[in-house]
């Protein structure tokens, strides 16, 4: 098993005929993703990488997509998300980098009121290595992505490759990796993924790749402390040396009432019983400590 996405998930791609859409659809199919239909207004009747294309999500309804991946520019993302929700799709991944903040609020609000999982924006997406992906990951580089039993949640792209490569080197593959993304108001938060990982028998523990700003790491710590999540939790948190007042990293913290500093995150996570690395080199040791018997590669 995995969370959100596996071999059987029926995936729709909005914006499939664009340059990125076409290129990554090929990779998604090659990995085994069940891409059932694509949407590009004005291009119904065409096919892209063998996938039938429709004008609208509604017109692609006969394919009964369960999840939609959006290759749509930031300013059209809100529209595309609502189109998918309106068609009944409840797992949506949006990779766009640069979604206006006020749009992001409306997207997040819609996710909450429909009970949908909206992953992103500003993310590489979701991958269950060896099974399927929605987004773009270099899954073909074996030293970076391997099938395994570690759940990974991240706010970053390049840093994620860096960290998963270290995990693979230490002998740990990934069950499902969820990029919640680097935006200040992401569509879903770390703490909302933890119950899914808790229920997934293939996930033995979860690694958070976090950074300064926001409160998602603290919320994950609360989920661990309160028993919502009961498997080993590990975290890598960057930004210990980021000076105050500079916007380093992703869009960073807006007013959070004094929360959001890296040291506060580390304290909250450790107090809840998580193992925290502040340099990448610490991770192999911590992974062995937490999940030593679960090596999968």
């Amino acid at each position: 098993m995995s969370i959100l996405l596996d071999r059987s998930t029926r995936v729709l791609i909005q914006g499939i005929t664009g340059k990125e859409g076409t290129f990554w659809t090929r990779h998604m199919l090659d990995l085994g993703t069940r891409v059932v239909a694509g949407v590009t207004p004005g291009k119904e009747g065409e096919s892209c990488q063998g996938v039938p294309v429709y004008h609208t999500v509604r017109r692609a309804a006969e394919h009964e997509a369960e999840a939609s991946l959006l290759f749509v520019p930031p300013r059209y993302t809100k529209d595309a998300v609502f189109e998918a929700l309106d068609a009944g799709i409840r797992t949506i991944v949006t990779v766009a980098d640069g979604i206006p903040l006020h749009d992001a609020l409306q997207i997040r609000k819609a996710a909450l009121s429909c009970g949908a999982h909206i992953i992103g924006g500003n993310t590489s997406g979701v991958i269950s290595p060896g099974k399927a992906m929605m987004g773009f990951f270099p899954y073909w580089i074996e030293r970076v992505y391997k099938t395994g039993r570690l759940g990974v949640m991240t706010r970053s792209g390049s840093l994620t490759n860096e960290i998963t490569a270290l995990a693979v080197r230490a002998g740990f593959g990934v069950s499902t990796l969820v990029g919640v993304g680097g935006d200040p108001v992401p569509g879903c938060r770390f703490s909302e993924m933890l119950p899914l990982y808790q229920d997934d028998p293939e996930t033995e523990g979860v690694l958070i790749i976090g950074e300064l700003g926001g409160t998602m790491e603290e919320e994950a710590a609360e989920a661990l402390a309160s028993g919502v999540f009961r498997k080993p939790l590990l975290a890598f948190v960057c930004g210990v040396y980021a000076p105050e007042g500079k916007r380093m990293g992703h869009a960073g913290a807006i007013v959070t009432g004094g929360r959001g500093t890296v040291n506060g995150k580390i304290r909250a996570l450790e107090k809840a019983g998580a193992l925290v690395a502040t340099r990448p080199g610490m991770l192999p040791g911590l992974l062995n400590q937490a999940l030593g018997e679960e090596k999968t590669t």
Binding site: L101, H102, R108, G157, S158, N161, P186, Y241, G249, I254
Partner: protein
């Protein structure tokens, strides 16, 4: 993007929020004329984007023509900041100082109005010391701030009669600014309350969402928003850049990875000259990125990447081209991984560079080179 006080106050004026009469000046010699027209006493306020202007001596009251020019000159020449302009404002004698703001609460996905009868101090300080003095009223951005919510705030602030109505008007205007301009934050601190039941914005803070720049009129990037020419150039190029004063220029990819490298340089005892990301849409622009790094007096350039779409071979080739064109006077440490990384190793090796594969090793090498350069 944060606007200057005078720009934010122009917006306030347009939306009907009262602000003091004022004039903007660019040299000490203009101060006396401006103050004379407005009438004494006046406040001279440096137009800079850093906080804590009062403590830094960048805001001063003048009460007569004699000391106006010297006080203005003192602010223009302050070592605390680069001051290009002063706002000369009529001084206000307030009855009280309040706080108002609208921002975003990421957790609840709602917008948040905060208000306090104890304005004049930073909201973070107030939140830490007297959290009970902050009123909060959140709203769904789709329905917007409703007038009853503004009334809730006005009457919770113990305002009555005309003052309460005036407060509702100001809150609804703030909300208009927040939505129309796609603001991350709009804040009045202090909002002066006057004996006759009216208000005047003492200060104005407006931070606009850069991601919404395309659907907003006005507010282009200007040199004045940036401390240095390099930061301005980077912003125009769309390359994320922060200026520091250490030894190592970071030329990395990805916000998280660049921040991690920043940490690692410090763990290893090194210092950072600049933070720069040339990943994402900028991964083909190594030359522009390296030019920005070379504009610093740094000792080493450290390039660390691990890209998927930002292919390693493309970035390596870009780096080698940049070396050929710019002929840097300082060593480059490279750790370029990701899609087509084998090809990247070949390209870097052929150019005489040592391709690192482990980030921490690359950082140690850069720190050693930077320290060696001092001997």
């Amino acid at each position: 993007m944060r606007l200057f006080e005078y720009e934010a106050k122009e917006v306030f004026r347009r939306y009907g929020i009262p602000v003091p009469e004022s004039a903007l000046i660019y040299a000490p010699e203009e101060a006396e004329g401006a103050a004379g027209k407005l009438g004494y006493p006046c406040v001279l306020k440096a137009q800079v984007l850093s906080g804590g202007r009062g403590k830094a001596g960048l805001v001063k009251v003048v009460s007569n023509p004699e000391n106006t020019a010297p006080v203005a000159a003192g602010i223009f020449d302050s070592p605390a900041a680069t001051v290009d302009a002063l706002l000369v404002e009529q001084a206000v004698e307030p009855e009280g100082e309040m706080y108002l703001s609208i921002t975003v609460d990421p957790l609840s996905a709602r917008a948040l109005v905060m208000a306090s009868a104890s304005g004049g101090v930073e909201i973070e300080t107030l939140a830490a010391e007297n959290p009970e003095k902050i009123l909060r009223e959140s709203f769904d951005i789709s329905s917007g701030l409703l007038e009853y919510q503004a009334r809730n705030i006005a009457y919770s602030l113990h305002l009555q009669g005309g003052a309460a109505k005036e407060m509702v008007k100001i809150l609804m205007s703030l909300y208009g600014i927040f939505r129309d301009l796609d603001a991350e934050l709009v804040e009045i601190n202090p909002l002066f309350s006057l004996p006759e039941g009216t208000f005047v914005a003492g200060d104005a803070k407006l931070i606009l969402d850069d991601n919404a720049a395309g659907r907003r009129e006005g507010f282009p990037l200007r040199r004045e928003y940036f401390e240095s020419e390099i930061e301005y150039r980077a912003a125009k190029e769309g390359i994320p850049y922060l200026q520091f004063d250490g030894d190592i220029s970071l030329m990395c990819a990805g916000a998280g990875l660049t921040t991690t490298v920043f940490d690692l340089v410090h763990y290893e005892g090194g210092t950072v000259a600049n933070y720069l990301e040339f990943g994402g849409p900028n991964y083909t622009r190594a030359t522009e990125a390296m030019e920005l790094c070379l504009a610093n007096p740094s000792k080493v350039i450290l390039a660390v990447t691990f890209g998927t779409i930002a292919r390693a071979d493309v970035m390596a080739r870009g780096l080698v081209e940049a070396l050929d064109r710019l002929k840097p006077d300082r060593p480059i440490v490279t750790c370029i991984r990701g899609t087509n990384e084998e090809e990247a190793v070949k390209i870097l090796s052929a150019a005489g560079l040592q391709p690192f594969f482990d980030t921490e090793e690359a950082v140690r090498k850069a720190v050693a080179l930077a320290k060696g350069g001092e001997q």
